[in-house]
């Protein structure tokens, strides 16, 4: 099928009243969830999944893409007005935005967040549209060796990027991989770690687990929070779009830098929008002509990292669609949905269902465009959204989670899984074990084992086969370098320190 034909087919898939309605509802939901402090974009995805479970594939994916794009933007709203980031991706510049609010420039801070989020999102989408099909062509030639290295590379990136303790991240990852081992789905077809429970034969259901780890844990954190509620400093906001054109003219380099860096960080497995936004803010300060103004209510950093966190969202979909390796927790959940819908991510998706892939691209473009008017509306209604009381919202979310977990297999066992993983995630985060590597471990466990075992059987004892094919050798060397870098640099430091003594 040629390109125009494909886009025509994708157009028909997306411009369907049902899909557009789903996108609109998801957008409103995402804006709301993002704007409420304590409800993250990942949680928005986890809450949506039980509902998308009952939809055809394209509206299901459209709902997730739209809701997350909106939530990442609207996390800026409470950041600017209450000095509490609505989502972790806004945390990097929350202080900056709040300082601007104190100076009476709340509308500029929020407007910059909105407009440059959309631009960053569109940039990331452009990279996704061009890079993903090209990468898929290459990926078609991959054998189990390349996939083995690729998964290991992805998992090591997840461990090394964005975690304060590499050791704890590795442990979280191993726990996730072990959870992924549960059930019959292994090369031997032998029931592992099922404790004789028939419900565990099919493995730990992904959706109840995600709902537990990202929603129940958040509810638990809310009910034990001892901080007093924040106070709003503004009553009325001006026109958020005034002065945006001037900003775009003044900071073109910052916008481009933020979008590029965000997309690149997004592609890295395990690092998503929050990482992109922190890094971009730091880079922006470094390259700025007026770094001394950062932290005093200066818009430049907001422009750059606002663009970065939304471009990261699209970037994360590149490895997810092409290799089935999620770029962040959100795409980890989305990959679970793709599998459930029979759209198994990987290069063959581009061969067999290209119109679906292009439909996903279109959804990204539409989502980033409708973000502008809907985001404007959300800012206008901000003072009302922020007044929604958490003590009503959180119990309702809890009940919703219970039903959602039940709905996947129509058994209360799903609710049990949700409870266990909710508690696990709560304890993990309290003790500095990051949750994202665990999720990646669960999602990638089956794929890693499959390629590991296939490769081992093919290798027949000769481990050099893992490096025989050129791409496989390259990936292997890069992976091993990343894996052993910390150990090697530690050793070098020890050896250097010794003669000094």
């Amino acid at each position: 099928m040629d390109f125009m034909h494909l886009f025509g087919a994708a157009f028909q898939l997306v411009f369907d009243p049902y899909v557009l309605l789903v996108m609109f509802c998801a957008a409103v939901f995402g804006l709301f969830v993002g704007a409420i402090p304590g409800l993250t974009a990942t949680m928005a995805t986890a809450l949506l999944v039980p509902i998308t479970f009952f939809m055809p594939p394209i509206p299901a994916i459209a709902a997730i893409v739209t809701a997350t794009a909106m939530a990442i933007f609207s996390g800026d709203i409470p950041g600017a007005l209450l000095r509490i980031p609505g989502t972790p991706a806004s945390a990097a510049y929350t202080d900056e935005a709040y300082q601007m609010t104190l100076k009476g420039q709340a509308e500029t801070a929020l407007g910059a967040g909105l407009v440059f989020s959309a631009i960053g999102g569109l940039f990331g989408t452009a990279v996704l549209v061009t890079a993903a099909p090209a990468l898929a062509e290459i990926a078609l030639k991959f054998s189990s060796f390349e996939y083995f290295w690729l998964v290991i590379l992805g998992l090591s990136a997840a461990v090394f990027i964005g975690s304060s303790s590499v050791l704890k991240a590795v442990i979280a990852l191993l726990i996730g991989l072990l959870v992924g081992c549960v059930g019959l789905e292994n090369p031997g077809g032998y029931p592992r770690f099922t404790f004789g429970n028939t419900e565990l034969m099919g493995g730990v259901s992904l959706i109840p687990m995600m709902v537990g780890m990202f929603a129940i844990s958040e509810v638990l954190r809310f009910v034990v929070k001892t901080d007093p509620p924040a106070r709003m400093v503004v009553k009325r906001l001006g026109n958020v779009f005034s002065g945006m054109w001037a900003l775009a003219v003044k900071y073109p380099a910052a916008i481009l830098r933020g979008s590029v860096l965000g997309t690149l960080v997004g592609i890295q497995p395990g690092a998503g929008a929050d990482m992109a936004s922190w890094m971009s803010y730091a880079v922006s300060k470094k390259f700025s002509r007026e770094p001394e103004k950062f932290g005093t209510g200066h818009v430049e950093g907001i422009v750059e990292s606002g663009a970065a966190n939304n471009s990261a969202l699209a970037g994360a979909w590149i490895p997810a669609l092409v290799f089935g390796i999620p770029g962040d927790s959100i795409t980890a959940i989305a990959i679970g949905v793709l599998y459930l819908k029979g759209l198994n991510p990987g290069p063959t998706l581009f061969l067999n269902n290209p119109e679906n892939v292009y439909a996903i691209f279109l959804v990204f473009i539409i989502a980033n465009i409708i973000m502008v008017p809907l985001g404007w509306l959300a800012i206008r209604l901000a003072t009302n959204i922020l007044r929604v009381p958490g003590n009503i919202l959180m119990p309702v979310i809890l009940l919703f989670c219970a039903v959602g977990a039940f709905a996947i297999n129509n058994t209360v066992f799903g609710v049990t899984v949700t409870l266990i993983f909710g508690l696990l995630a709560f304890v993990m985060e309290e003790n500095g074990f990051p949750v994202a590597p665990a999720i990646l471990g669960v999602v990638l466990g089956t794929m890693l084992e499959e390629n590991f075992v296939t490769s081992m059987i093919k290798a027949d004892g000769n481990l050099l086969v893992f490096f025989e094919r050129p791409i496989s050798a390259g990936l292997g060397v890069v992976t091993l370098t990343i894996l052993f870098w910390p150990a090697a640099s530690w050793l070098v430091r020890q050896l250097r320190a010794r003669p000094a003594r």
Partner: protein, 156 residues
Amino acid sequence: MRIHDALSGFVLALLAIAVLVTVSQYPPTPGQNVGPSAFPGLLGILLLGCSLLLIWRGLRGERQALVRLGDWTRSLPHVVNFLLVIAALLFYIFCANFLGFIITGILILSALFYSLGVRILLILPIAAGATLLIHTIFYKLLRVPLPWGLLQGMHW
């Protein structure tokens, strides 16, 4: 609730040993050297190594209590809230089928609203409204067979 690294390392090491013991009893795949035990076995060994490292790092670091409870554990309402969330899910797991979704939902929401300090007059109307909304979304729109339980006779 901060658990001392040495203690979490110890628990994780026990988990790793349990995994290794379980895995060692798995039957090999005939004619092949990698069976269902190979991958989890490898993970178990790695986890054991990491947890020993965590114990070592924990013991080397500054001395602190094995379990340090967060601020919220000293405030009774917060502890009650925490336990109530867990109890709510357990209540759902064990009673939803018998009581039916609507009764279970209203009870769970009312208890949590009360504990979180929602105004008394609002508790019941909001709990009922939210439960019915969730029920409509899942039962009517998504066709999930939510249990009717005691209300079986009057289902709609």
